[in-house]
């Protein structure tokens, strides 16, 4: 081959690379009208595995034939990072789903979202759970459409077999007691009285909600009782050991669905998951819901949770359409739509609750219904620019206390010290 030919090939390859590079960047940016329909883009995570998105989009499209909703699907674990990168790059996706309030605060404080007070007003401020979390000095930059909170899942068959009454009005003390009773080994298969997942919220957010504690204060004495309860359960073998759960990456779903755990404190998002698993024939667990166990037996139920919301991008290509969509999704129509698939809507009124309990497969006993109306739902983590850094430290120290490397007292002292030194200073 002649040299000139070689050089020509090399140049062609270079040009080719350059062109494919450009094409890659230009591809997904296309928006606008197609056959007279407005194309509304909405950022979502794990579109396949999060059926509420499809339900909402299909519902809205049916009610508004002139709109075509296009999901921008993002890997769930990378969602906050990806959205941050998109916003920094001036992306024009119309509606941004706020996966948690910490990210919401970050975007809103940085001026990336449009104020949507009018939308919130028309949906009705009084009926939207957790709306306070989105209040930025009287301005709302997102409207919650979904509100998850924590309750207690239990296996009715295992309770019956052990001759224990349904877990009504439990205190943590009583809860530990029956968890130990429910623990057994039959045919070499161990059944745990309860399963505590490895998340720090299982201990810390519960303690904060039920003691009125502040998780970014740097003072963590209010964690103590809850840690003692959790460690005692672990030591007695009534729950899977933290170290094992962590190193095995134990799935809380498997623990409950295969009957390896008789109880499990968990969020309401799991309702949709367990309904689906039963529908698909993956489990035949006979499950019920109960309120989260409490500090005392006063009868008042305090739990914690976190809302999910829709916001309008500052650079949205279709701001007005986006607002209309949010008004629908956060409103009664949207609430009923997601109720049908077992997702708990943020909008709470009698009509919505009635719709929710029509759900096929949902336990309809009085205790399960009671679990649905906690007296108080605290935010899982307070909204602040310090939340993310504090969360990281509390997570690391939670590990050490749960694997028994630090005593509860030392662990709590270390949390306080590190949060004060590294975050609050």
């Amino acid at each position: 081959m002649k040299r000139t030919t070689l050089a020509a090939i090399a140049l062609a390859v270079t040009a080719g690379l350059g062109l494919t590079g450009c094409a890659g960047a230009a591809g997904p940016a296309e928006t606008g009208n197609q056959n007279g329909k407005t194309k509304l883009t909405v950022s979502v995570w794990n579109y396949e595995g999060t059926p509420e998105f499809k339900a909402l989009f299909d519902g809205y499209e049916a009610a508004n034939p002139n709109v075509d909703i296009e999901p921008v699907d993002i890997l769930a674990d990378d969602y906050p990072q990806k959205v941050t990168t998109m916003l920094a790059g001036g992306d024009t996706t119309d509606v941004l789903t706020m996966k948690n309030v910490i990210d919401y605060a970050r975007y809103a404080n940085n001026g990336q979202l449009q104020e949507i007070n009018s939308v919130v007003d028309s949906v009705g401020k009084d009926n939207l759970a957790s709306l306070d979390a989105f209040d930025m000095n009287g301005k709302y930059f997102a409207a919650p459409y979904r509100q998850d909170f924590w309750l207690l899942y239990y296996n009715k068959d295992l309770f019956k077999a052990a001759g224990i009454d349904d877990p009504k009005d439990l205190t943590w003390e009583k809860y530990s007691e029956i968890a130990k009773k429910l623990t057994s080994t039959a045919d070499g298969k161990k059944v745990y009285g309860t399963y505590h997942h490895i998340w720090r919220s299982v201990v810390q957010a519960i303690a904060a909600a039920q003691n009125g504690g502040d998780q970014i204060s740097g003072e963590y004495g209010f964690f103590e009782d809850q840690y003692n309860t959790a460690l005692d359960l672990q030591k007695s073998g009534a729950t899977l050991d933290f170290g094992t759960a962590k190193s095995q990456k134990t799935s809380y779903r498997t623990m409950f669905e295969t009957g390896q755990a008789a109880m499990m404190p968990m969020g309401t998002w799991y309702i949709a998951g367990i309904l689906q698993a039963k529908k698909d024939g993956k489990t035949n667990v006979n499950w019920g819901l109960a309120p989260l166990p409490q500090k005392d037996s006063s009868g008042k139920v305090s739990t914690f949770g976190s809302p999910t919301a829709f916001a309008v991008n500052k650079n949205a290509a279709h701001s007005e359409e986006a607002k209309k969509f949010i008004e629908w999704a956060a409103g009664e129509e949207g609430a009923k739509t997601i109720s049908k698939i077992g997702v708990v809507p943020a909008l709470q009124n009698d009509a919505v609750t009635a719709e929710y309990f029509k759900l096929d497969g949902l336990p309809t006993d009085a205790l399960s219904k009671k679990a649905f109306t906690p007296d108080e739902t605290a935010l899982e983590m307070p909204v602040s620019d310090k939340s993310a850094a504090t969360d990281k430290i509390l997570n690391q120290e939670h590990d050490l206390v749960m694997v028994g490397e630090r005593s509860v007292t030392d662990g709590i002292a270390e949390m306080g010290k590190r949060v004060k030194d590294e975050v609050l200073k």
Partner: protein, 312 residues
């Protein structure tokens, strides 16, 4: 990865230029050479060089990715020196390197010597040892996590079996998590370095061994005085590559322990990721990455210096 950078390639002898036509020809050749590296260089420029230079500049700024960066001078570095987490991560990184580099090297060499013989089915064993290196890292990490499980894991069951009552908690213990990660990474990497050593061993002329044998050298003396010195260029390459990869370790730790329990396995590159991508402090995380770069650079330059002195 190119082995050629270390083993000296024969330099073709240049003919002295003796006419104008030759000079023109030389320029043409250079130009063609440039055209050939251009595609690669453009990619390098866009995705490596420019971001690296930008990170250097960012380490003196405060930037959250939403607003314009703000110049803050040495503030990021002051914060880093005062931060406990930085020192913990630095210590973990150094401990990891001190465990990973010598262990991988020693095992790779031993395996290479064992597999450097003509035996039936030797290919199978070589492939078996190399296999972990081409296995998905996530799968490796998940499987080893199970092996290391404190109660039911085979590792601890084996330890119980041989009479060790208090088996370590491995990834659930802050003292043993780093050794667990090191063991996994050594197992994963040794196959690759074994292949390099194998190549080195096969390049040693058999005459040297024959001569040594005639002189009455024992097996140990042959290893010490023939094999090791002849492998020096390979060893040097292996040490440099291993050191650089040890300081940059990220993926294995993220999947296996995610830096835990507590901060016991948090390494520098993970801290960079957490502070930058996780919390949006791009200036601060750039400052840490600059420090990591300087550490790797210093260690590598030192290794080159030592190697040069030895060769003299």
């Amino acid at each position: 990865m190119t082995t050629q950078t270390i083993t000296q390639a024969p330099v073709p002898e240049r003919t002295a230029p003796h006419s104008r036509g030759n000079r023109k020809q030389a320029r043409r050749n250079a130009l063609i050479g440039w055209t050939f590296i251009l595609p690669n260089f453009l990619g390098f420029l866009a995705f490596t060089l420019i971001p690296v230079l930008a990170a250097f500049a960012l380490s003196f700024m405060e930037w959250t990715s939403f607003s314009a960066p703000k110049w803050v001078g040495l503030k990021n570095f002051e914060r880093m020196i005062a931060s406990d987490s930085f020192w913990v991560a630095l210590r973990n990184t150094v401990v990891y390197a001190l465990g990973h580099v010598p262990l991988t090297m020693a095992l790779a060499l031993v395996l290479a010597m064992l597999l450097n013989r003509k035996l039936k089915g030797i290919g199978f064993f070589r492939v078996a040892i190399f296999f972990p290196y081409i296995t998905s890292l996530v799968a490796v990490a998940v499987v080893w996590n199970m092996l290391f499980s404190p109660d039911s894991g085979p590792v601890n069951q084996f330890l119980h079996g041989i009479g060790i009552a208090e088996a370590p908690g491995w990834t659930s213990s802050s003292d043993w998590a780093l050794p667990a990660v090191i063991i996994t990474s050594v197992w994963r990497d040794m196959g690759y370095y074994m292949v390099l050593y194998l190549a080195g061993l096969q390049a040693i002329p058999t005459e040297l061994y024959e001569a040594a044998e005639v002189d009455g050298a024992s097996a140990w003396q042959r290893f010490w005085n023939v094999t090791l010195p002849s492998l020096r260029p390979t060893t040097f390459f292996v040490v440099v590559m291993l050191t650089v990869s040890s300081f940059k370790v990220f993926d294995l730790i993220v999947v296996m322990t995610n830096g835990g329990p507590g901060r016991s396995t948090t390494v520098l590159s993970q801290l960079i990721y957490q502070e930058g991508i996780g919390e949006g402090k791009f200036g601060y995380s750039s400052a840490i990455s600059l420090v990591l770069f300087l550490i790797v650079l210093t260690v590598t330059v030192l290794q080159f210096k030592i190697q040069q002195r030895r060769e003299r």
